[in-house]
């Protein structure tokens, strides 16, 4: 069990800034997800915490102990690799027990813990098999069992579910989360899949281009994204972004863009803003802010319908309506949303504007 403190971590590969000043505090026992697109630096950050990657500058602390220059083996960590890295020349039982064997535990102690870990992951029947005889999902469980066999201070996971098929992924998501809750081990989990992040993370750290964009709970990130990147990255289908001009008469203001008029309570203080509205917050029929759009493509998910349509000036807008609906291409539909659900952003800085 450990608190992890990352102070102004920088990692440069020559000219390339993989990590550009990361400061992050992770609570003891927290499940923290590092989320972001490919190349954002999340894996580099994970590997720096593990010690497999050295840092250019900055510090990493486990419970006030400076581990920045320690070798991975001296940090009391465990890791689940994306490819599982289950050693092919050892049986499952020896794979799981190896961390203990290296540290010189007794045979009885090793066997006890291996059985416990295997039981936790429901792979007790597989202990005497070789990895080549296992399926991908089974190998993944072995990797996790190996990672928990010696209570690590920090558990690191590098996209462990990305190589599994969809059904298995959903199942393992809840299993891993429950496992972590039961063990209470501080966990740092890397993924590019926002659904995994939202459902598993106590907090989510969204990264882009080597920098932390926002750190918060799923709710904070969803409801109050700090910039357009986070707003666009979280939520599927992606948030709609509409450019609008501010028209103010002193007390009230209207945002006019793409033929849509949005009244707001106070002047945002900018001539131009970007209005964000999530597809799931747009409904059929008239409402507080109504508009007419021409349908050009429908995606029927049965439980909901995603409508791709265009506003009067050709701007594409996506809306997601609950239930199964039929629309014809070219049909004109009236839709609306509430101003409570909009997000305002500064077009230049892309940062959120509070009103």
């Amino acid at each position: 069990m450990a608190r992890v403190r990352i102070e102004n971590l920088k990692k440069y590969f020559g000219e390339v800034k993989a990590l550009d000043g990361i400061t992050l505090d992770i609570e003891d026992g927290e499940f923290l997800v590092l989320l972001g697109p490919s190349g954002c630096g999340k894996t580099t950050l994970l590997r720096s915490v593990s010690g497999l990657e050295s840092v250019t500058s900055g510090k990493i602390f486990f419970n006030d102990k400076d581990v920045t220059n320690l070798q991975p083996k001296d940090r009391n960590i465990s890791m689940v690799f994306q490819s599982y890295a289950v050693w092919p020349h050892m049986k499952v039982r020896d794979n799981i027990g190896y961390p203990m064997k290296i540290k010189g535990h007794s045979k009885e102690e090793i066997e006890r813990r291996v059985n416990w870990a295997a039981n936790m992951l429901n792979i007790s029947e597989l202990l005497d098999r070789y990895p080549s005889q296992l399926s991908g999902g089974q190998r993944q469980r072995v990797a996790v069992a190996r990672a928990i066999v010696l209570n690590p201070a920090v558990l690191l996971m590098d996209e462990p579910l990305s190589n599994l098929d969809a059904l298995l992924r959903v199942k393992m998501r809840s299993e891993l989360k429950k496992l972590q809750e039961e063990l209470g081990v501080t966990t740092i989990y890397v993924t590019h899949d926002q659904v995994e992040a939202m459902t598993m993370g106590d907090r989510i750290a969204v990264m882009n281009r080597g920098k932390l964009q926002q750190v918060g709970t799923a709710s904070e990130i969803y409801h109050k994204p700090v910039n357009m990147f986070v707003a666009g990255f979280i939520g599927s289908p992606q948030m709609n972004f509409l450019r609008a001009k501010t028209v103010s008469d002193g007390t009230k203001a209207i945002l006019k863009g793409h033929g849509v008029d949005i009244p707001i309570s106070s002047d945002p203080g900018l001539e131009e803003v970007v209005v964000g509205i999530r597809p799931e917050h747009i409904g059929l029929g008239k409402g507080e802010v109504s508009f007419e759009a021409t349908v050009f493509f429908i995606e029927k998910l049965m439980s909901s319908t995603i409508i791709h349509s265009t506003l009067e000036d050709g701007k594409e807008i996506v809306s997601m309506i609950p239930g199964d609906h039929e629309f014809k291409n070219g049909e004109k539909v009236t839709m609306s949303f509430s101003t409570e659900k909009i997000h305002l952003f500064d077009p230049k800085t892309e940062r959120r504007i509070e009103i």
Binding site: P72, K73, A85, P99, R146
Partner: protein, 265 residues
């Protein structure tokens, strides 16, 4: 129907093409002298080991076999000792000058040992290495080294670095991880390349001939006594050269084939 016939004819022709010379030399090596010189006897009446015996024990055959083995073992040991770390470095690390080194090694592989042999013997004579097992072994090491670097590099590239990293996370230093995790996984490939290196050294004739006078490896011995001895001794010598190599190849055939990038699935 006709197609099947052609097919089987092709198979038989190919098999015969490759087997015939081998069968011939074995047959000739074990044919008694009288039968060999008898123009009407193709298949000998009985097989004899006397040529092989004489070659081994009267004509220094045994001595040159031992020298060949010594040379090959030293050459393999030395080239793996020197080359395996280099192969690992090439496989795992990116660094400046890697391209240049890769190119140089490839280039070295293509330089015929012939070119190196003459000045080498001149140098050897000055330092007292001429006509020694060590001298030939050092030259053979130079021949095998580029191959070892390239092949170990390829072998280590094929072993996921995450296996090593997992070892490092769970308590091993990098070196320990290499020894306990990567090496065992690399062993089949390394063994196959060691055997192929052995065969390269065992068969090498030019350099071995130039560098030695009395302590000759088997092929050098044959080359230089070829003119003098009766035919059947030559054939017995050929068989002696071929048998160990063929045995090795037989036992490692699967690994060698995959080493060359051929899959049997």
């Amino acid at each position: 129907m006709l197609k099947k016939l052609f097919f089987w004819i092709a198979v038989i022709l190919i098999a015969m093409w490759f087997l015939t010379p081998i069968v011939m030399i074995f047959l000739a090596a074990f044919t008694p002298a009288e039968d060999y010189y008898n123009p009407h006897k193709i298949i000998p009446s009985h097989l004899t080991f006397e040529h092989l015996y004489k070659l081994l024990f009267l004509l220094d055959g045994w001595k040159s076999i031992i020298i060949s083995v010594e040379v090959a073992l030293i050459a393999i040991g030395l080239s793996f000792l020197i080359g395996l770390p280099a192969g690992y470095a090439m496989a795992r690390y990116k660094f400046k000058g890697k391209r240049a080194i890769n190119l140089t090694i490839l280039l070295t592989r293509s330089i015929p040992l012939i070119v190196v042999a003459v000045p080498l013997i001149v140098i050897y004579m000055k330092v007292g290495l001429s006509d020694t097992v060590l001298g030939v072994a050092l030259a053979h090491t130079a021949m095998i080294l580029p191959f070892v670097v390239l092949i170990t590099s390829s072998i280590f590239s094929g072993i996921s670095v995450e296996y090593e990293e997992a070892g490092m996370v769970f308590g091993l230093t990098h070196f320990q991880s290499f020894v306990k995790i990567t090496l065992p996984l690399a062993l089949p490939g390394l063994a196959a390349s060691a055997i192929y290196s052995f065969i390269m050294s065992w068969n090498e004739v030019f350099v071995a001939s130039i560098l030695t006078l009395t302590n000759r490896t088997l092929p050098a011995h044959i080359l230089n006594t070829a003119m003098a001895s009766p035919d059947y001794f030559k054939f017995a010598a050929g068989v002696m050269m071929a048998v160990p190599a063929m045995i090795f190849i037989f036992f490692t055939r699967k690994y060698l084939i995959s080493m060359w990038g051929i899959s049997l699935k």
